[in-house]
């Protein structure tokens, strides 16, 4: 056992401390534990949000979207290029149109997404609920049919006051004036045959799916009209690199948009929240760690005599600083250890039980997402312990410099 450990073990033994110092020590450990736990829970929630947004966005939007100016037959132009890249696991054309939907006494702006039913499931795994007599997507939206069958987002269906048990049902759709011939009825009736749940309120409240031929017919568009092609990759993180490759191959008429750019605002907002909360909680942690200074000041002032005796025996200031820094560090490690356990426990409880209800209209999600990352917990623990070490070292360095004679007189 080294000298520092030997002396520190005696000086920091709980039963050798005065009652007031014991109370201060416990309060400090609790403070550090609370700050650590808060930091872990906060980051678990924010990382959960990030993960859920990413998962939902990737489920609904695919990993890479190829958009062609003029909306001509996009799929025909890129099918060879898509076939040449093994990293592309699926591709499907799509078409976007906007209109107003009326039903259940309300009127909502809707984005109609025309999908190629045959290839849609290669790209989009989201949950679609349909009546029992329509077991597959193909049975609800026949791939070549031009009939106005539609699948609504869960939020949109709720606005139309529709549930799966009510299906099939009819809603009215107002096609923009420019899209219909003069004198024709602008209101079309759509038959709702399913409800999808993308998991992100923004999508569920705004989007409806139709088969591509049916949407083209509804908007009186030519047969080959598509907005672009959605691609799914074996690794979504390669989307940016592949986007550059496509843009290089396809020229300026095309734009390749990776998933991260499609929803850049959401990710920026989450990232900003994460940074801000990390900073605030980090400061909270440092403030909690500063309590160690109080404990060490009291501990050192109560031991000025012993410090002076040790120095007269030849112990260096440096060794004494290490003795008291070690004492502070023990408090910090205890606090951080307890805080990490409590934080992970709380996060697990929040993940397991639906205790906190969040408004999907605001957060886009209907359940508090939790993601406990061992790496993040490790980083937090290391940061918190480092903060405790720094404050302990600062206090010990300042206080261990008391003159020896002054200390001997107090001994």
């Amino acid at each position: 056992m080294s000298l520092v450990r030997y002396i520190s073990a005696h000086f920091n033994r709980h039963k050798t401390l005065s009652p007031s110092l014991r109370v201060m020590k416990v309060v400090t450990i609790v403070g550090i534990a609370m700050a650590t736990a808060t930091l872990i829970v906060t980051l678990a929630i924010l990382t959960g949000f990030e993960r859920e947004y990413r998962r939902t966005i990737l489920d609904f939007n695919a990993h890479l979207v190829l958009l062609k100016a003029g909306e001509t037959d996009a799929m025909a132009d890129v099918s060879d290029l898509i076939g040449s890249r093994e990293s592309i696991k699926g591709a499907t054309p799509f078409l976007y149109r906007e209109g107003l939907m009326l039903g259940g006494g309300s009127i909502k702006g809707v984005i109609m997404k025309g999908i190629d039913v045959a290839t849609f499931r290669d790209v989009n795994p989201m949950r679609i609920m349909m009546p029992p007599d329509l077991p597959t997507l193909e049975s609800a939206l026949p791939p070549t049919s031009t009939k106005p069958y539609v699948i609504l987002g869960a939020g949109l269906a709720k606005s139309m006051k529709l549930a799966v048990k009510d299906l099939p049902a009819t809603v009215r759709f107002l096609v923009p004036t420019s899209a219909v011939a003069k004198g024709e009825d602008k209101f079309k009736e759509l038959k709702v045959l399913g409800i999808f749940d993308a998991g992100l309120y923004d999508y569920d409240a705004q989007f409806a799916l139709m088969a591509l031929p049916a949407l083209r017919t509804l908007f009186e568009l030519p047969e080959s009209r598509t907005t672009g092609v959605e691609l799914v990759l074996d690794d979504p993180d390669n989307a940016k690199e592949l986007a550059k490759w496509f843009e290089g191959k396809l020229g300026p008429v095309w734009r390749a948009v990776p998933w991260s750019e499609l929803n850049a605002e959401i990710f920026k907002a989450v990232e900003m929240e994460k940074t801000t909360f990390s900073l605030i909680m980090g400061v909270l942690m440092v403030v909690a760690a500063f309590n160690i200074i109080g404990v060490l000041v009291l501990m050192i002032l109560m031991r000025t005599g012993e410090i002076a005796i040790l120095r007269s025996l030849g112990m260096t200031q440096r060794a004494l600083v290490r003795v008291f820094t070690r004492g502070g560090l023990i408090i910090g490690v205890l606090g951080v250890g307890i805080g990490t356990a409590v934080g992970i426990g709380l996060a697990l409880i929040l993940a397991r039980f639906d205790i906190v209800h969040i408004a999907p209209e605001i957060y886009f999600l209907n359940r508090l997402p939790i993601d406990i990352s061992p790496l993040v917990c490790g980083i937090i623990a290391v940061f918190c312990i480092a903060a405790c070490w720094c404050t302990s070292w600062l206090a010990a360095t300042k206080l261990a410099r008391l003159p020896i004679v002054e200390g001997l007189n107090r001994a």
Partner: protein, 236 residues
């Protein structure tokens, strides 16, 4: 490479040399000068007594000679090393291996046993706990305190505490023992016993010793006695 001072000190066997040492403290209205130009030196193995009334600065001089206090003016050389020129670690190292302190109020660490108190200088010197334990046990045995090794200071008598403090001061066989009123807190009989222990130890081990006391009778056995009066030192 040895400095000129070290070489000279070795040649003369001089272990402590103080020149023109002044020490003053800030008083409420003006500075109080305790030491006024003290010159002092001693050689290896010598026994020196410093006598003086209370408050004349005997302890202050002893602290300065032992490098735990600094003079306001003047120089102190310990074993040929200018104390003012040394860093904290060097001074601490010198105190640990070459100087042993015996204080009036023992100054044992209250939470440590007698054995642990004596082990500390050995551990500061870098010895392993097992080796430190052996050295400390031997030092306590010499002081007749083996049976008190596992007792804390609060469980020991004044005489036993002071003998434990002497064992601690001598455990590393330093060249110099600085004893500040070593019997000042003990009754006459116990004080005499402790004094005998101290004298026998320094004689057996060939250690030099400076004893500071207000009790002139105690210094009867000391061959060289100085008197500290009005901040100046003179042969007593």
């Amino acid at each position: 490479m040895k400095s000129e001072g070290q070489a000279k000190a070795k040649a003369n066997n001089m272990i402590v040399e103080a020149k023109n040492v002044h020490k003053s403290y800030d008083g409420e209205t003006e500075a109080v000068e305790v030491l006024r130009g003290v010159d002092f030196s001693m050689n290896e193995g010598e026994l020196v007594g410093i006598y003086g009334a209370s408050g004349t600065g005997k302890s202050t001089l002893l602290h300065i000679l032992g490098s735990i206090d600094v003079p306001t003016q003047g120089t102190v050389a310990l074993f040929g090393n200018d104390v003012a020129a040394m860093g904290d670690a060097q001074r601490a190292g010198l105190r640990n291996t070459h100087v042993g302190f015996v204080f009036q109020f023992y100054h044992l660490l209250p939470e440590f046993t007698a054995l642990e108190n004596v082990m500390i200088p050995c551990m500061i010197a870098g010895r392993q706990p097992k080796e430190a334990h052996e050295c400390a046990a031997e030092a306590l045995e010499k002081m007749g305190l083996s049976h008190r090794a596992s007792h804390r200071p609060a469980e020991m008598s004044g005489g036993e505490r002071q003998r434990a403090a002497i064992a601690r001061a001598a455990v590393l066989r330093p060249k110099l023992i600085l004893a500040d009123e070593p019997t000042g807190n003990l009754d006459r009989e116990t004080g005499n016993k402790v004094w005998e222990y101290l004298l026998r130890l320094t004689k057996d081990e060939g250690m030099a010793m400076i004893v500071v006391s207000h009790n002139h009778d105690l210094l009867g056995d000391v061959p060289l006695v100085y008197e500290l009066k009005d901040g100046a030192i003179a042969r007593g």
